[in-house]
């Protein structure tokens, strides 16, 4: 099938051309749009890097002014992480997950399209800051108090905060979609122990996204409250704590590193076996250790903060726990190497990038092990050694892995092969350019060159290493141009791929290249981890019966999605409540506020009662009494409204009594936590209202009971959160 044919949707009256792309909900097209978006931003962030390297080519250079330099490194980091890394993962995830598990589409195609469109939206908003008075300039982790108004009047920080909020929502939406898709839509026979490793990794990644992004969101909203309502969460001179920002950011930031690298592990685990013509060595270890890495990554964030001075105890423990992550990760490297040993290795471009990944990632991992040790970290933190370390992990690891993925799956996505000749040019140029750029930075770091400084004095050795680095960047740029040229000509004149050009084993290769909108005419039976191998070698699996379709026994999509969403929201409220405890029960205590516990207690009863009435409504529904259900749903909403009215009354009294966020940390934490809870009650009310209205018109169909149940979960969750909020904020203060 030619490419032009796939650009035309098969349904007759459907829109065509540009409009068809804007309005599409097909996971493959959404995936392609994600990939294109990330390539565009990769070019932008790459140009920013080039500009910085030109400035740093010679000592005492004045090509770029310091303020612009600050904006460039901030935008380079932010763009690479949030607008290149995350969309690339979402793009490959979206495109491949349904195909690899033999599904027709993701679980929620419309949510998928919405999640995607938040990426260009967030990206535009972030870059609009260049025109609106200056881009953010406080580094990709935006340490407070540098980002606070007294130190940073630049609106760039606000653009940074708001666009990251939008991008975060998009990422969580897309992650929930992938979780639900993997849990509910696998082909018959595809047990969890038969899922391709890429699916495993992207599944764990999605869970990490769901749990980690809310930590960033909580920090962002607190900083927004600081900047716009004049509170002082992160302003030490007014009773706040800048270190809290660091903790909150890295609670997100550290898992984020694994969010970026785990899907690449997954790709490598698919590609290396195919080009070694051997199954992966130690499937269950690779999969299970991913879970371990995911969990560990959530609890070692403080190793980014050794220089803060947390004390000997925390330093010791975080050193130990961080070193521990090297164990499952290191063993994975052995898994991949052992897969190659004794295999008939085919050195395709994809395989070359995998081998490049292995080598560069091991170097980056080893420098990571050194940084995990607090005393070494003190010596080299914020120097070019750190820059070298994370570029070896994120460029040598992430970008090399993604390039391998591109060469491997491009035939599936477009129906045409990328040129291997150009691919090899790209690989070698990128390998040389990359090492030229970043290897020397290790030494620059040891020699004491700090990162994020716009120029440097003419010290011995500095100029040579920096110049080499700049030349390397240009070589990388050339290799990227080779890649873009390769994509462009291969789209037009590339060799036609056929369904399974690599003789690979996973389900996506059973579909045509590119796959039709409905993906599969017929999903091959899944009797093992390698269904396409079984198809080619029926003698191996002849005796294995196809297990019965367990799809009806799987959890329902609505329930899985709402549980994942609640998990995400729980993390958000957990962080806000932790902030409340830190600010009010620890040293920053500011005396009891003017809270009227009795009045709020009464309104709380209304909220708790609404949970009970919702139970009654659900019971009516189960018994087929639609009218009763409507009545009780109405009562539930009325009780929710009573609670919100009570909160409004309380806010009015407090604000007229001049109890406002700028007055005290207690007031700021109070309004942030109860305010966001109130907002969630409001959202819950809207959800209940939507369900009630849709029910009246019969719009819910046979899923009515499940959907009411899922909405109910959310409503009960909001109530449970209030139990904690009320106990800690109101009752906690009288104890």
């Amino acid at each position: 099938m030619s490419l032009e044919a796939t650009l035309e949707p098969e349904v007759e009256a459907a829109p065509t051309g540009f409009v068809s792309w804007v309005t599409t909900v097909d996971h493959k097209r959404v995936g392609i749009m994600y990939l294109i978006t990330s390539v565009v931003f990769f070019a932008i962030a790459g140009i920013e890097a080039l500009l910085m390297r030109i400035q740093l080519a010679v000592p005492e250079n004045d090509f770029i002014a310091p303020e612009l330099y600050n904006q460039l490194f901030t935008m380079h980091g932010t763009t690479m992480v949030f607008l290149v890394g995350m969309p690339l993962i979402a793009g490959f995830g979206n495109y491949l997950v349904p195909l690899m598990i033999g599904a027709r589409d993701v679980a929620f195609p419309r949510l998928n399209a919405f999640s995607f469109w938040l990426v260009p939206f967030g990206g535009l908003m972030l870059h609009w800051s260049f025109l609106a008075g200056g881009a953010p300039n406080a580094g990709w982790f935006s340490y407070a108090p540098l980002t606070e108004l007294p130190f940073n009047l630049n609106e760039g920080v606000d653009y940074w905060l708001l666009s990251l909020l939008a991008l975060g929502i998009g990422s969580v939406g897309s992650a929930i979609n992938i979780i639900v898709t993997v849990v509910t839509l696998r082909a018959p026979g595809m047990k969890v122990s038969r899922m391709p490793l890429f699916i495993w990794m992207i599944f764990v990644t999605s869970i990490l996204i769901v749990l980690a992004i809310p930590a960033l969101n909580s920090a962002i909203v607190m900083l927004l409250v600081d900047r716009h309502l004049d509170a002082a969460f992160f302003l030490p001179d007014r009773g706040g704590s800048a270190v809290v920002w660091q903790h909150f950011f890295w609670v997100f930031g550290h898992p984020e590193v694994y969010v970026l690298i785990l899907p690449v592990f997954g790709m490598i685990s698919e590609i290396i076996p195919v080009f070694s013509r051997k199954p992966i060595f130690g499937y269950s270890f690779v999969a299970a250790s991913t879970v371990a890495i995911g969990i560990l990554s959530l609890s070692v964030w403080a190793h980014h903060m050794f220089a803060v001075g947390m004390g000997r105890g925390p330093d010791l423990f975080f050193t130990a726990a961080s070193l521990l992550i090297a164990v499952p990760t290191g063993v994975k490297v052995f898994n991949w190497s052992a897969t190659m040993v004794g295999g008939r290795i085919q050195f395709t471009t994809a395989m070359l990038f995998c081998i490049g990944f292995l080598i560069e990632f091991v170097i980056g991992g080893l420098s990571g092990v050194t940084l995990a040790s607090a005393p070494i970290d003190w010596q080299v933190t914020d120097s070019y050694y750190v820059v070298a370390h994370f570029h070896f992990v994120l460029f040598g690891g992430f970008v090399f892995g993604m390039a391998a993925g591109l060469y491997y799956w491009f035939p599936k996505i477009t129906g045409r092969m990328l040129s291997e000749r150009l691919g090899k040019w790209q690989f070698w140029l990128m390998l040389i350019g990359f090492n030229l750029t970043f290897l020397g930075m290790h030494f620059l770091g040891f020699m004491g060159m700090p990162r994020r400084v716009f120029t440097y004095p003419d010290l011995p050795g500095y100029e040579a290493l920096n110049m080499a680095s700049t030349v390397g960047t240009v070589v990388i740029a050339v290799s990227v141009l080779v890649m873009l040229y390769n994509i462009a000509i291969s789209l037009k004149r590339g060799e036609v791929a056929g369904d399974n050009p690599w003789n690979a084993w996973t389900l996506e290769w059973a579909a045509t290249s590119p796959p039709p909108e409905h993906n599969f005419e017929l999903v091959p039976p899944v009797r093992s981890r390698r269904p396409m191998f079984d198809l080619a070698h029926p003698e191996v699996v002849r005796d294995v019966p196809l297990p019965p379709d367990d799809a009806p026994k799987r959890p329902q999509a609505a329930i899985v999605s709402v549980v994942a969403f609640i998990a995400s929201e729980s993390m958000f409220f957990l962080m806000l409540l932790v902030a409340f405890v830190i600010y009010n029960f620890f040293e920053f205590g500011s005396g009891p506020g003017p809270l009227d516990i009795r009045r709020t207690g009464m309104f709380s009863v209304a909220l708790f009662a609404s949970s009970a009435t919702l139970f009654v409504a659900e019971r009516h529904l189960r018994r087929g009494n639609g009218g009763g259900a409507t009545t009780w749903l109405g009562i539930t909403m009325a009780l929710g409204l009573v609670f919100l009215a009570g909160q409004a009354w309380e806010y009015y009294d407090l604000i007229t009594a001049h109890f406002t966020p700028e007055g005290s940390i207690f007031a700021a934490t109070f309004f942030t936590t109860t305010g966001f809870h109130g907002f969630h009650v409001f959202a819950g009310l809207l959800a209940l209202l939507a369900v009630t209205l849709l029910r009246r018109n019969g719009g819910l169909g046979k899923n009515e009971e499940t959907i009411v149940k899922a909405t109910g979960y959310y409503w009960h969750f909001v109530d449970v959160v209030w139990v904690f909020v009320f106990s800690i904020i109101y009752l906690g203060r009288i104890l």
Partner: protein, 273 residues
């Protein structure tokens, strides 16, 4: 006193815990017979860890000197002894006992998620309310109650995950979520203890030094009340989570190795080409 002296001398050979340990061992042998094997090994390990928690220097230091030793005691009694105790039970006997309505009722009430989860994590949080924490050090009945409830809640917590009868266990993904959320709750308490500038257990603030070991703790080990509490919080935060994580790893591997066909395929390097 030096560290090695402290480790050698600070034992409580007269503690009633010995009686409890011996009685438990005797009861076990009486009920299930004496046969060396994995189950007996688990029981012996459980009793040994129980004794480390209650009569070794850990117990002596936990008795008014060090908050971190107090946490070690918690971790032993809540996280390590209970799964070993459960592993010591013969499945057939448990299955038989479960046919009795009273046992079945007890299991369904306390030994099922989410109740068991709330018991296991709740007990840990409960004993860290500053007043209760201090009471468990100053009053013997409170101390005994603490040890007993920690053990009981620990058994309840682990019951659905390492149930002797396989078919009664939580599913593999269920167990992973169960242990993972346990790790989160543990981490949260650890974080609060680590970074709390106020005393989480005021009784350790000014120890009455009847043993004359304060100089060792202060100067030899370099522990102040603040750094001691930090150490305790970190114990709860990092090693405790590792226990859950180890469980998760074991369960995940077992879950993934179910498909035996792939093992056949995995032999040799025969490929498609």
């Amino acid at each position: 006193m030096t560290t090695s002296q402290a480790l050698a001398e600070l034992w409580r050979f007269g503690s009633p815990a010995w009686f409890v340990a011996i009685a438990a061992m005797a009861l076990y042998v009486w009920a299930f017979g004496f046969r060396m094997g994995r189950r007996m090994g688990a029981m012996l390990a459980a009793v040994a860890l129980f004794l480390i928690a209650t009569v070794s220097p850990v117990a002596v230091l936990a008795d008014g000197y060090l908050f971190s030793a107090h946490i070690v005691q918690h971790l032993l009694l809540l996280l390590l002894v209970p799964p070993l105790l459960i592993a010591a039970l013969p499945p057939a006997r448990v299955e038989a006992a479960l046919t009795r309505p009273s046992v079945r009722f007890a299991q369904d009430t306390f030994g099922r998620a989410p109740m068991s989860w709330m018991l296991g994590l709740g007990i840990m949080w409960l004993w860290h309310i500053p007043t209760l924490c201090s009471a468990s050090v100053t009053s013997t009945p409170a101390y005994v109650a603490q040890c007993a409830t920690l053990l009981a809640a620990g058994v309840a917590f682990y019951w659905p995950v390492v149930h002797p009868v396989r078919s009664e266990r939580l599913s593999a993904p269920g167990s992973i979520v169960y242990l993972f959320t346990g790790c989160l709750a543990c981490t949260l308490l650890g974080v609060l203890l680590t970074f709390a500038p106020v005393s989480a257990c005021p009784v350790y603030m000014h120890p009455v030094d009847t043993l004359g070991i304060m100089p060792l703790l202060h100067h030899g080990w370099g522990l102040t009340h603040a750094s001691d509490q930090q150490l305790g919080g970190l114990m709860m935060w990092v090693p405790a989570c590792m226990v859950y994580l180890a469980g998760i790893l074991v369960i995940a591997r077992r879950w993934l190795s179910e498909s035996n066909l792939d093992v056949v395929q995995g032999r040799g390097s025969h490929g498609v080409r």
